[in-house]
């Protein structure tokens, strides 16, 4: 049986103290990465800090700034939140593609980005939406863009003692369609072989891709061709994605296959969001 201390408290000041009290302290949200990782020996916590009593992490609201999703909101709750469905459906597609219905009843979006897998399915949609990660610690709060939050495989921009409080998608919302394609080996319960998010903003487009580099990436070569040079041949634009990615071979797919399938999915995404 696993051995560690466990604390659950709703008092943030106490939480910050506990976070700094030991070397290996792990916050617990849905536990879908943490518990699997502990069992597999990837994480060896001295202390597990259950966040689920912290009210400050539970907000889910739309206001004049945009949509804010607290760290403890589950992926299934996000998929049903009307302002997300109406304004940024690409995010609900990303959330919906995670694991299974049961996993999404527990898993949170903050857990998904904190775990910082390059294949995290909410990441490419969040990159396309220029989402902001709101961080809280004993020194107060700070915010970073989601692409600054992912710093490497399994690595994020949190400093010791900090938590993700929420994620905000600021207004103006994109005017146009967004789509998230996940290529995986099975219909559910598998990580993305690659994940491709394409979001149109009027005549412009944003493209982000997961599982093709140490962090999720924006396909800036593709975006540049479409947005700055007016490329309308989507096959040509999609072919440029090779400049933006550096996939590896692993158990899900070979490097070559990833290059191929990303190009196909970027082209399809451009067709669907920008018109054929």
């Amino acid at each position: 049986m696993l051995s560690y201390e466990y604390v659950k408290t709703g008092n943030l000041q106490e939480v910050f103290k506990l976070l700094e009290s030991r070397e290996h302290v792990y916050p617990l949200a849905g536990g879908t990465d943490l518990i699997v990782g502990m069992r597999g020996g990837k994480f060896a916590p001295e202390l597990i800090l259950d966040l689920k009593d912290i009210e400050e992490l539970k907000e889910l609201r739309e206001d004049k700034k945009g949509i804010t999703i607290g760290a403890l909101v589950t992926l299934n709750e996000i998929c049903l939140f009307k302002p997300v469905l109406d304004n940024i459906p690409i995010l609900s597609e990303g959330c919906h593609s995670v694991g299974s219905y049961m996993i999404r009843n527990r898993a949170t979006i903050a857990g998904n980005i904190c775990n910082a897998s390059p294949a995290a399915d909410t990441s490419a949609p969040l990159y396309c939406l220029d989402a902001v990660v709101n961080i809280i610690g004993s020194d107060g709060t700070r915010s970073v863009r989601v692409d600054e939050f992912f710093t490497g495989p399994g690595k994020n921009a949190l400093k010791k003692g900090e938590l993700v409080q929420s994620i905000t998608v600021l207004k103006p919302y994109p005017e146009g369609r967004g789509i998230y394609f996940k290529a995986s080996r099975t219909g559910s319960v598998d990580l993305a072989t690659v994940g491709v998010a394409v979001q149109s903003w009027g005549e412009r487009v944003k493209v982000a891709i997961g599982a093709v580099a140490p962090t999720p990436v924006r396909a800036l070569s593709v975006e540049n061709a479409v947005n700055e040079y007016g490329e309308k041949d989507w096959s040509k634009a999609a072919a440029l994605v090779n400049n933006d990615i550096s996939p590896i071979t692993d158990l899900r797919a070979s490097r070559e296959y990833r290059y191929h399938i990303v190009e196909v999915l970027v082209r399809r995404g451009l067709e669907k969001t920008m018109g054929v």
Binding site: M1, L2, S3, Y4, E5, Y6, L28, G30, G31, T32, I35, V36, R39, G40, I48, D50, K52, G99, S100, Y101, M102, I103, N105, R106, G187, S188, V189
Partner: protein, 155 residues
């Protein structure tokens, strides 16, 4: 040995107070401490759904929940479905449709289906597929399982 914490909860409608080890999963607690062995252990990493139970009415993989997280919550396992010796309509339809071969996935399937019918009393194929997306049947009884759920919904 892992530290123990006292937790209070309801299981299948009964109030209980027990000790749970800090390092224990809810799945292990259900099977080894509550002796409710209808909940099955398959992969223990969230991939098969054999361990599905309802926590506050929602289906979860009990292998991915800590036992101590049960404190203050309501747990429903497959043993809680029959009332006064009468099977739940889902259990009866699974039998009538022979919606299993080995039966290992069945308790988990039924718990996911139970939660589905609570939130969508008249589910379509897409709803059923979504609800069962985390429940694998290695015997491949999916057609019969879907039919059983649809017929249970009609009752």
């Amino acid at each position: 040995m892992s530290e123990k914490i006292t937790i209070s909860f309801t299981v299948n409608g009964e109030n209980e107070t027990r000790e749970a080890a800090v390092g224990q999963t809810l799945l292990s607690f259900i099977r080894d401490d509550l002796h409710l062995t209808g909940t099955k252990s398959g992969c223990e990493i969230g991939e098969c759904g054999a361990c599905t139970v309802l926590l506050n009415g929602k289906p979860v993989n009990s292998c991915l929940v800590l036992a101590i997280e049960l404190n203050g919550k309501e747990l429903l396992t497959i043993e809680g479905l029959s009332k006064n010796g009468e099977l739940d309509k889902l259990q009866q339809e699974f039998i009538d449709h022979a919606a299993f071969q080995c039966g290992y996935c069945t308790p988990g399937m039924i718990m996911s289906a139970k939660a589905l019918l609570e939130r969508k009393p008249d589910p379509n194929d897409e709803d059923i597929n979504e609800a069962l997306s985390g429940n694998l049947c290695r015997c491949g009884a999916y057609q019969e399982i879907r039919a059983a759920i649809k017929d249970a919904a009609k009752k």
